[in-house]
């Protein structure tokens, strides 16, 4: 089977799968299984008729109209699957833009702070003690901001490291890998410093925590490098299928 025939079959699969409102994992499973089926029937037909173009046409005819299949596949997604799809829409996936990552981090911060504040209010009400409410608000705000900032920096650096290490040709750069690894060395101690500072307002103790965290900092570049491969595979997979023209 030549690459052009495989691409044609992928387009048929993508016409059926792309419009479906389901999680990425679910759509990935559908793509692989439907493609395996199409390739099998193409090979069956190619053996029977001995001509690739006729085999391709026959395979498409046997498979059916991909647009009609979309509706049937959508119906096979359970209500819980649709909920997970909506939740996934508001999370960050490798390959998304930095702007989206920032928006998702901001949204997660707002949600986290709201949740923690609600919990703080409940605790305060249940214990009938209002003197520690201010402290609970302070902790909630500080935790939300620090966690959101950390998740943004962590995801940003790990994806950039992945792209610089094994992304597309134009993205690959050893100097960038070194730069991101150096930046990641700073992340953990900085997080420890900022977290302690916003919680205690004690500069000396925050510096002490910064120094302590420096011992663990060398683990961060290692962590980013370990995360690089699965991330880049995900990015490549998304790019590969998104590049197919399906005539929407």
């Amino acid at each position: 089977m030549n690459d052009a025939a495989l691409k044609e079959l992928k387009i048929v699969v993508e016409q059926a799968v792309r419009p479906i409102r389901a999680t990425l994992a679910r759509k990935r499973r559908m793509r692989e299984e439907l493609l395996a089926h199409l390739v099998s029937i193409f090979e069956e037909e190619a053996e029977r008729v001995g001509d690739e173009q006729t085999a391709l046409d026959q395979a498409k005819r046997r498979f059916g109209n991909p647009r009609e299949l979309t509706g049937q596949l959508q119906e096979s997604v359970s209500p819980w699957g649709r909920v997970r799809f909506v939740l996934e829409t508001y999370t960050y996936q490798p390959g998304d833009s930095v702007l989206r990552l920032a928006a998702v981090s901001l949204l997660s911060m707002v949600l986290m702070i709201a949740g923690l504040l609600l919990a703080a209010m409940l605790v305060s009400l249940l214990r009938a003690r209002h003197d520690d409410f201010g402290m609970l608000v302070h902790v909630s705000l500080a935790t939300g901001v620090v966690m959101a900032a950390f998740s943004f920096v962590f995801l940003f650096l790990s994806e950039r490291t992945a792209r610089a290490l094994c992304g597309e040709d134009a993205e690959r750069s050893l100097s960038k890998v070194v730069l991101y690894c150096l930046a990641s060395l700073v992340v953990f101690p900085a997080l420890a410093f900022v977290t302690y500072l916003v919680l205690s307002f004690d500069l000396a103790a925050s510096v002490a925590h910064f120094c302590l965290a420096c011992y663990f900092a060398p683990a961060m570049p290692l962590l980013f490098l370990l995360m690089a491969r699965p991330m880049i595979e995900e990015i490549r997979y998304k790019r590969q299928w998104a590049s197919l023209e399906i005539g929407e």
């Binding site: 493609l35 029937i41 596949l73 359970s78």
Partner: protein, 114 residues
């Protein structure tokens, strides 16, 4: 004899798939081969339509699927092997009972008892 098109199978496809899987686990294409054999080539189903039915059965816990180990030269695309679960077996028994009842009632109305 006239062929039976996919539209006429609506409402029965899932039970038909369960009955095919009763004979042993199979991937999508194998299920279609078995259907073709059992229907003497008179069952015409758009092959892609099989998968939504399989996914519904899987969601409902009536079949279980695992990825095959090797793609066997299909350019990296793997197939999934489906097998019947105990819940699927119960559903199949119920489906057969309902089908018998349906044929009896409709056959009686149409003056063509089974």
């Amino acid at each position: 004899m006239k062929v039976i098109e996919g539209d006429k199978l609506r409402g029965h496809l899932e039970t038909i798939i369960l009955s095919v899987l009763e004979r042993g686990e199979a991937h999508g294409l194998e299920i279609l081969w078995r259907l073709d054999q059992a229907g003497c080539g008179l069952l015409h189903l758009k092959e892609g339509s099989l998968y939504p039915a399989l996914y519904r059965l899987e969601e409902a816990g009536k079949v279980q699927a695992v990825w095959e180990e090797e793609p066997h030269g299909r350019r990296g695309a793997r197939r999934r092997i489906y097998r019947l679960t105990p819940k699927g077996k119960r559903q199949l028994a119920q489906g057969r009972e309902e089908w018998g009842h349906f044929v009896q009632v409709i056959g009686g109305i149409m003056g063509a008892p089974a």
